[in-house]
């Protein structure tokens, strides 16, 4: 079904009267109508850009923690990430997802590691980190599609992150890619912004699931944790001291 909206030029009706008063009145009316038209035009033009700050809630993951302390570095690009669509052939979107992705990491990491603290810079041999490992996440790619582009009645979002983990002295332990995907169907009376927000939140939930379940499977992380858990005398002693049936704190 096609719907055609037509804007008819506005004309002052009382302009046909010949007196000075009516001309003045007509002039005032014209100015008012012109101002209204300009306002309407501005509203229409503003409506061409979809602007969105991603908001939502994330649940705590139901996982057992990795027995390591973690420092996490969110740089300014990560914390304030804003995606701006600059392709002339696509509709204009400005999507601020930085705070939401920090919120997601802050929800997942404390459940994934025994202790998490935010740090302001990467460790170096001269200024080592107090945590066992340091995570430095970067968002490397953000893509989306909307129903009018795909002909499917869903909004889709793809996220690609580069996660780097460093030792307390700043030596890179592992560096891997994590992808996330989220989609949401169109719904009656739902705005484009609300639908896109829901798709980004689903993608971030997917990212949380991927990090929660996938981090300990990364071979380098797995090896590093095994090495450092086994060689750490206090933890070994604690494990030996654990009685049968009593779970030692470092065990999964």
């Amino acid at each position: 079904m096609k719907s055609v909206a037509k804007v008819v030029p506005l004309m002052p009706v009382s302009l046909t009267a010949g007196t000075l008063t009516s001309v003045t009145l007509a002039s005032a009316t014209t100015k008012r109508l012109t101002a209204l038209s300009a306002l309407f035009l501005m509203m229409v033009l503003a409506g061409c850009t979809n602007s969105l700050k991603v908001t939502g809630e994330f649940p705590k993951p139901l996982i057992e923690p990795i027995p390591q302390t973690l420092g996490v570095l969110y740089d300014d690009d990560f914390k304030t990430y804003v995606y701006t669509e600059d392709n002339e052939d696509r509709s204009k979107w400005v999507i601020e997802s930085g705070p939401a992705q920090v919120q997601l990491f802050n929800r997942v990491l404390p459940e994934l590691f025994t202790q998490v603290q935010e740090i302001s810079s990467l460790p170096t041999p001269s200024s080592p980190a107090s945590a066992n490992m340091v995570l430095y996440p970067k968002l490397t790619d953000f893509q989306y599609s909307v129903p009018r582009e795909t002909q499917f009645k869903i909004y889709e979002v793809w996220l690609k992150y580069n996660l780097s983990v460093y030792s307390p002295q700043g030596v890179m332990i592992a560096d891997w890619i994590v992808t996330a995907y989220g989609k949401t169907p169109t719904a009656f009376m739902q705005s484009d912004e609300d639908a896109m927000n829901a798709a980004v939140i689903v993608a971030l939930r997917d990212l949380g699931a991927n990090i929660s379940l996938g981090t300990r499977r990364v071979p380098e992380i797995k090896a590093w944790i095994a090495d450092h858990t086994l060689t750490s005398p206090p933890v070994q002693a604690q494990a030996r001291a654990a009685k049968p049936g009593q779970q030692a704190s470092y065990q999964e």
Binding site: S3, M11, L62, D206
Partner: protein
Amino acid sequence: MLNTIYSFSRFSNPESVAQHCTSTLHRSGLVALLLMLLQGCTSVTIDEYHARKDTKISEGEHVVVLGRRHSSSYETEPELVDCIGDILDDNNDIITVIPEREFMDALYPWFEPRTAPMRIKDMNRLLARKDVEAAINHFNIRYIVWVDGKTETTSSSGSIGCSIGAGGAGCFGFGTWDKESDYEAHIWDYQELENIGQISADAAGTSYMPAVVVPIPLIAQVQKNACKAMGLQLRSFLNPQSTIEPL
């Protein structure tokens, strides 16, 4: 626009204009009200398959209705899943439904599109984790209902044109479109860890929108009727003592 100009030239007396507008509004309101009572027709077909005959649910046991979201070209609508849960929960003292969001959040990340069990035997893998088993047991779940499907517009025709001007605005034309729903629910018995049956609901309907100054939508409630039929059939499936109400 032309009609608006004509009206102004015909009624030079402001009182006449007011009277004419009032009576027109009354008549338009009455027609709109009558038309709102009419709805596009929807037909629903339900199929049911029982893998086991003795289905029952006891007081205190709960049901959770979850949407499948792994397909790349569509997504089972969250409002459809909520709607089925509401119908399953209503008007009976036996079946209590846990909201999908509450269940998924409590079990995060084990029932996400990426991680959700696709077959009943995949539940064994999940239940090997004691924390997951405890979280599901916390809800005292008896049945897990997985709903998969979508509602889509299959065809549309007609056109409606709208105009706006200083004198007013109006639309003229006629539009019509067809919608089809296709949903399937798989019912898992969590206590016995078996798939006990499935129900499918196919619904189709045509909506109309005539527009004479004001567009009047006569919407066929395709998804809503599919949801209601599915919900009532599920209620009868899980609690055979309950009777199926007409749609």
